[in-house]
Symmetry: C2
Subunit: 340 residues, 2 copies
């Protein structure tokens, strides 16, 4: 492999410089993506067309010079594979026609298998071939709690009060659904690895809406199960967004790296997550600012995390209206500063 | 005063039992509120009609038996008083026609004064009279950062990327606006106290979207200024929602009490916020569950916080679709358990 910085940093090995990539690096910030998007009727057609998903995945590697490709897809592939269809509404996010309300609804869901995400397998194989070992290919999935939140709520929400009320009203049923999602996710990520993903990230986008006690009962144990299985195959990055309140429990995860949002202090993270590679965590909004500000903040972040066991990234996905030029400048700042 | 539990608990004094109230206790959960709401054309008409605001404020005292009344109003009274009008859209939240983009926009804002919130003064005077010293009357305002977020973004947002980009792009301008909001808020809260508010709460609803560094530059210093002025008059409760990452800085605020959201562990809060009365922090979603669950969780919360220097509350406002019966049961649980 020409550039395996990400894999070595994830494993805690010394690297010549800090690797850098961005969550949502393949997306609306890029001109090629916007052209690809015009060729399809909706977001899902893009996700399900391997050639297009591959093209979207490669664009940031070529254009931004990032140290990793992350397969273009969506965390909602999993509920769909389990039998729950959704639409992705432009600028409003996902919408499920049916939601999970009862044990009967849970029983009606299947544990997904390869045939339900064959397009993903094809996209990964094709992308891996096209990448030609330039940089590692990242696979990913949502955390079971995050998928549970969408399956019960049916859409995004400020409070996720429908999802959360289930954990208090019927915890047994909640665990039944979480177990089924977890089984599917393990199969899904294993297939991703077999198709070419060299590292995987688990996005717990909605763990932060839980109390620490609920988080450690309804989210973390299921992430742990996935880590236990997947870590046998590849390095795993866990991204417990907004859930650093459970840092002491997170550090026990069987994962190589923990991704941090921008509300986490780098020094506190180093103290509480010893032995883990850390990833993150620049506030995406810094990339709206002038280059001098981007440079200053990026350098500060690099200093605070230190060069070893560190992957530079934002604290969340890049926002679609951030200028591509600023994103590229961020990538360059990391490379130049940490290369010395 | 017949029941001054809240005031004594806020000051850290011994109380016969733990006081309890709820954020948004006057609202859609109550039948009387829904009837009042039908009498007016919009939310703002209700806020601006002292008799109706008074009736809405008193209803939960009568119906739920809470230990405090909080004046029925909205944090967006402040930007409106400064010259920035908004509409409150049903189920979508506030919408400002104009937003603050430039220093010229800031210069055009006035520092509000009594005439701009005369209806609020009248509502407080009337409510204080009608309350007849049954329970204390709480006044409130948004934190300057939270008001800044609405004034620049123009509406609610998942990322508040417009608001946040200003702090990175033009920090000097951001501070100019924050200063103006702070000056207005101090006058506004002082007027509330003079009109009858016996304690005030500062809602920093959107502090949690900032990084710790930005929080301690753009939110906390302005809350501190308000605390310094208002604490000369009445006890102040600060509610830094989602910003417990800055607990060490929060504990230095000149306030009597700190309100906590449900992501904060009570024992950690006691350790980091020594000397402060603590308020909170039950997950509002617990109130969707059966009574046995509400009781168990409430008792656990009361045990974890301990009886002294504590005000029972939710970790955020009560959600509008939570059954009133469950809210009342929560209040009763606190009273019964902590009264022994």
């Amino acid at each position: 492999m020409k550039n395996d910085l990400l894999l070595r940093a994830a494993r805690g090995e010394e690297t010549e410089r800090v690797p850098v990539w961005l969550m949502r690096q393949a997306g609306r910030i890029l001109p090629g993506y916007r052209k690809i998007r015009e060729q399809v009727k909706d977001f899902q057609e893009l996700v399900k067309t391997p050639e297009l998903a591959c093209a979207a995945t490669l664009e940031p590697v070529d254009l931004l010079g990032v140290d990793a490709a992350i397969i273009f897809s969506d965390i909602l592939v999993v509920p769909e594979a389990m039998g729950l269809d959704y639409q992705m509404l432009e600028s409003r996010g996902p919408l499920f026609e049916k939601t999970i309300k009862t044990q009967k609804d849970i029983d009606a869901l299947r544990i997904g298998s390869t045939q339900n995400w064959a397009y993903m397998v094809d996209a990964l194989k094709l992308t891996r071939k096209e990448l030609n070992d330039r940089v590692p290919l990242i696979g990913f999935a949502g955390s079971p709690w995050t998928i549970f939140a969408y399956m019960t709520e049916g859409k995004g929400s400020k409070t996720f009060s429908v999802a959360k009320s289930m954990i208090y009203r019927d915890p047994k049923m909640a665990h039944a659904l979480l177990n089924k999602i977890t089984q599917t996710t393990i199969k899904y990520l294993t297939d991703q690895v077999n198709a070419g993903a060299q590292i995987v990230q688990i996005f717990d986008s909605w763990g932060g809406i839980l109390s620490p006690e609920s988080y450690e009962e309804f989210s973390l144990p299921y992430i742990a199960k996935i880590c236990d299985e997947l870590s046998k195959l590849v390095p795993v990055i866990a991204f417990p967004k907004g859930a650093f309140f459970s840092a002491k429990a997170i550090t026990k995860l069987n994962c190589a790296a923990v991704s941090l949002d921008w509300t986490v202090d780098p020094k506190e993270a180093r103290a509480l997550l010893q032995g883990k590679t850390l990833q993150g965590n620049l506030d995406p909004c810094v990339l709206y600012a002038e280059h001098t500000v981007i440079k200053e903040r990026t350098h500060k972040m690099l200093e605070q995390f230190g060069a070893k066991g560190y992957i530079a990234n934002l604290g969340h996905g890049v926002y679609p209206d951030i200028p591509m030029d600023n994103v590229k400048y961020f990538v360059d700042c990391v490379k130049q500063y940490s290369g010395h």
